[in-house]
Amino acid sequence: MSNEHKAWERVANMLRSRSLWMLYYCTGCGAIELPPTMTSRFDMERLGIGPMATPRQADILLITGYLSTKTLRRVIYSYEQMQSPKYIVGFGSCTLNGGIYYDSYATINKLDLYVPVDLYLAGCMPRPEAIVSGFTALMSKIDKGEANGWKEYQEKNDWFKRNQIEALGEVYVHDEFHE
């Protein structure tokens, strides 16, 4: 990359790390620890992180805990709608290896096969302190320019798509309204 592009990337990364917008979508059981993190006690907003209503405006997509197949479809819709320097944070062991639902017929075991994950948070439902320290780790990762999950999704798209079809059968459900 030409060096002025690199300089611009550094400035952009500095800006992107200071103001992260989180998609307001609780996909799993870990979402119950988000309200305490967003409100008065742990106050994520002082780090510049706030909930956003639509995928278009969001930077982070939180996979809070287990992911059932039906939700995985909607997560893929939302992830693809988000604009591109986007990051995914996986909560707890359910996104790593199925967690406590390892033998369930409805939840996926390894999140990394379907969407690129930038950060994993430990804890079977990570505590608010873990979430805040995880976000600061993500911010420093973005600052250093290492959080390139979205580039990986673009480069290895067919690999991700093949995994998704393999697990879900079909990603885009046709008659969503089951008329």
Binding site: G98, S104, Y105, T107, N109, K110, L113, E166
Partner: protein, 171 residues
């Protein structure tokens, strides 16, 4: 406010004998054939068991039978009654109780999806919770979720390199 035993005696007087099993002071199970099920449920509802808490299916695979439990509850005295009837496993058809409790439509739809028991008279037995499900109804005993999970959702294999990663310098 006559207690549960008097009510059961009155119901037995009307619709014939059925066996009663006491669980706790305020809860008992009655065994009823599917033919007399609707009549008895209607009498019980009139006698005060107005709240249908739950419709549960149990898969007794060894004696080839689906048991369907209707859990009724009486607010005034706090008594619960489990009305049990059984249906054969290969032709599981039972009449619906939607006319007594409209909310039963969704309980029946749930039991239908997870056991395959057909409640005739219930208009929408569409899939409720699972999406694009092609296997047999998952709550049956002969469905093994572990096998399904291993086939469809590969998980992380911790090979020897994981040990290096764990003990290595990059914490």
């Amino acid at each position: 406010m006559n207690s549960m035993n008097e009510i059961l005696k009155e119901v037995m007087a009307i619709s014939g004998e059925f066996s009663v099993k006491e669980v706790t002071a305020r809860e008992s199970i009655i065994f009823v054939e599917t033919s007399r099920l609707n009549a008895i449920l209607e009498i019980l509802k009139r006698k005060g068991f107005s709240h249908l808490s739950l419709i549960t299916g149990v898969d007794r695979i060894e004696d080839g039978v689906f048991e369907v439990f209707y859990t009724l509850f009486r607010w005034e005295t706090g008594e619960a009654l489990l009305v049990k009837s059984s249906v054969s496993r290969d032709a599981p058809v039972i009449t619906t109780v939607m006319h007594l409790w409209p909310t039963a439509r969704f309980y029946e739809r749930d039991v239908h999806e997870f056991f395959g028991i057909v409640f005739d008279g219930n208009p929408d037995l569409k899939p409720l919770i699972l999406e694009n499900w092609k296997e047999i109804p998952p709550m049956r005993k002969d469905f093994d979720p572990q096998k399904y999970s291993n086939e469809h959702f590969p998980d992380r294999h911790y090979g020897s390199e994981f040990l290096v990663e764990g003990g290595g310098e990059n914490e």
